[in-house]
């Protein structure tokens, strides 16, 4: 029986593990199917983590976290969790891919979120064949070529700037004429000669052939279409929370969720189920920032420690 099972190895999961083990919990396992680090490792840079003044790539930024967070005995199981359910005695069952399972006295769910689809025709067909959600991964394949970045938030604008260093031109396509990104980033985008703004349009469809994407058609409010012939489209239109492991066999969720599928927690990151905590992107009102996820993880780690010890 584990004292604590942590599901997910991003900033929230690693911080939860650090606090729980440093606080004295002995049998703490973090389930993460690969190398820990989380979604931020796909980000081209991080410049808003207080105390880390040097601007690093997400990958470099997260590199020391595993070493530090595992210093006090946190164990990493390279397994994929398929479901968390409650046992009659109040402990939890952690079902793993492949049919095995583990038992735990408490659980912290930090499964984060994944990029949302923009839902245009051809998006799924050409995903990985021109449509991408990771500029640091795939920008390289479009060196000196033209690409589209889709979206109007911080991620879209930051990654458009990143792509402008590699690609010959970046069309920033957004459905409004205003951006939700930070003013300093908007300024950089507007002053970048390699970025062309295409605003107040939606993507109608992506087209291509068996080798991959050849372009997209966008349409404005008046119905006027424009063909943007590019081999690459990077989609940054927000995130979906990864809550599937909380879904039970009958389709209900293990704990209370809001209407958008975010996990309802109190200020202690406690869910509606005793001993079950949630931290990071998938909780209600999450700011979806690394520093917030780390803070959530620390809170949940401390609370889980308290729960198990009393």
């Amino acid at each position: 029986m584990l004292d604590l099972a942590i599901i997910g190895g991003g900033p929230a999961g690693l911080s939860a593990g650090l606090y729980a083990t440093r606080g004295g919990l002995k049998n703490v396992v973090m389930f993460e199917k690969g190398l820990p680090g989380g979604q931020i490792t796909s980000s081209s840079e991080i410049e808003n983590y207080p105390g880390s003044a040097e601007i690093l790539s997400g990958l470099d930024f997260m590199a020391p976290w595993s070493e530090q967070c595992m210093r006090f005995g946190l164990k990493h199981a390279m397994e994929e969790v398929t479901r968390i359910s409650k046992n009659p005695d109040g402990t939890f069952q952690i079902a793993l891919a492949g049919g095995k399972s583990e038992q735990a006295k408490s659980v912290i769910v930090c499964t984060g979120s994944t990029p949302k689809k923009a839902n245009f025709e051809g998006e799924s067909e050409f995903f990985g064949k021109g449509v991408s959600t990771c500029a640091t991964c795939d920008g390289f394949f479009y060196k000196n070529k033209e690409v589209v970045a889709l979206g109007g938030g911080d991620t879209a604008l930051e990654e458009a700037l990143y792509l402008s260093h590699i690609c010959s031109k970046v069309y920033l396509v957004h459905r409004r004429d205003t951006f939700r990104a930070s003013p300093s980033t908007i300024e950089k985008v507007k002053n970048n000669p390699k970025i062309e703004l295409i605003l107040n349009v939606t993507v109608k469809k992506a087209y291509g052939d068996k080798m991959g994407l050849n372009g997209i058609i966008v349409v404005d409010a008046a119905g006027k279409e424009r063909d943007i012939a590019v081999p690459g489209v990077f989609v940054f239109v927000g995130m979906n929370v990864n809550n599937a492991i909380l879904q039970q066999e009958d389709g209900s969720f293990l704990c209370d969720m809001d209407e958008n599928g975010n996990v309802v927690v109190d200020l202690s990151m406690h869910t509606s189920v005793k001993g079950l905590f949630a931290a990071g992107d998938l909780r209600i009102k999450a700011s979806k920032q690394v520093v917030c996820a780390a803070g959530d993880g620390a809170t949940a780690g401390i609370q889980a420690l308290e729960y198990v010890n009393h």
């Binding site: 690969g34 994929e80 021109g130 991408s132 640091t136 991964c137 795939d138 394949f141 081999p231 690459g232």
Partner: protein, 105 residues
């Protein structure tokens, strides 16, 4: 414990020509690629002598990446006796990859 094979333009075809091969197209700057790196290492051990677990560094082997139309990484290709039989885009779990290899053996 077995180690994965590094493939390049000169040894790619001959390596995948016989038996079952998993080929992971990756690059050092790619977060999801680094995330599955330990999974690939373990698969190389688990399938030692049964299937070939291979990696292609797309940064160094751009011609191979172009030949297979790689435009997103990680992309994992599965070969059986030289024939491309399946592919997975993005970071998959060890279980999913192992199941796929087992289904081809």
């Amino acid at each position: 414990m077995g180690k994965y094979l590094e493939l390049n333009a000169s040894n790619f075809d001959s390596t995948v020509a016989e038996g079952v091969a998993l080929v992971d197209f990756w690059a050092p700057w790619c977060g999801p690629c680094r995330m599955i790196a330990p999974v690939i290492d373990e698969l190389a051990g688990d399938f030692d002598g049964k299937a070939k677990i291979c990696k292609v560094n797309t940064d160094e082997e751009q011609d191979v990446a172009i030949k297979y139309g790689i435009r997103s990484i990680p992309t994992i290709l599965f070969f059986k006796n030289g024939e491309l039989v399946d592919q997975m885009i993005g970071a998959s779990s060890k279980q999913v990859l192992a199941d796929k290899i087992n289904s081809l053996l």
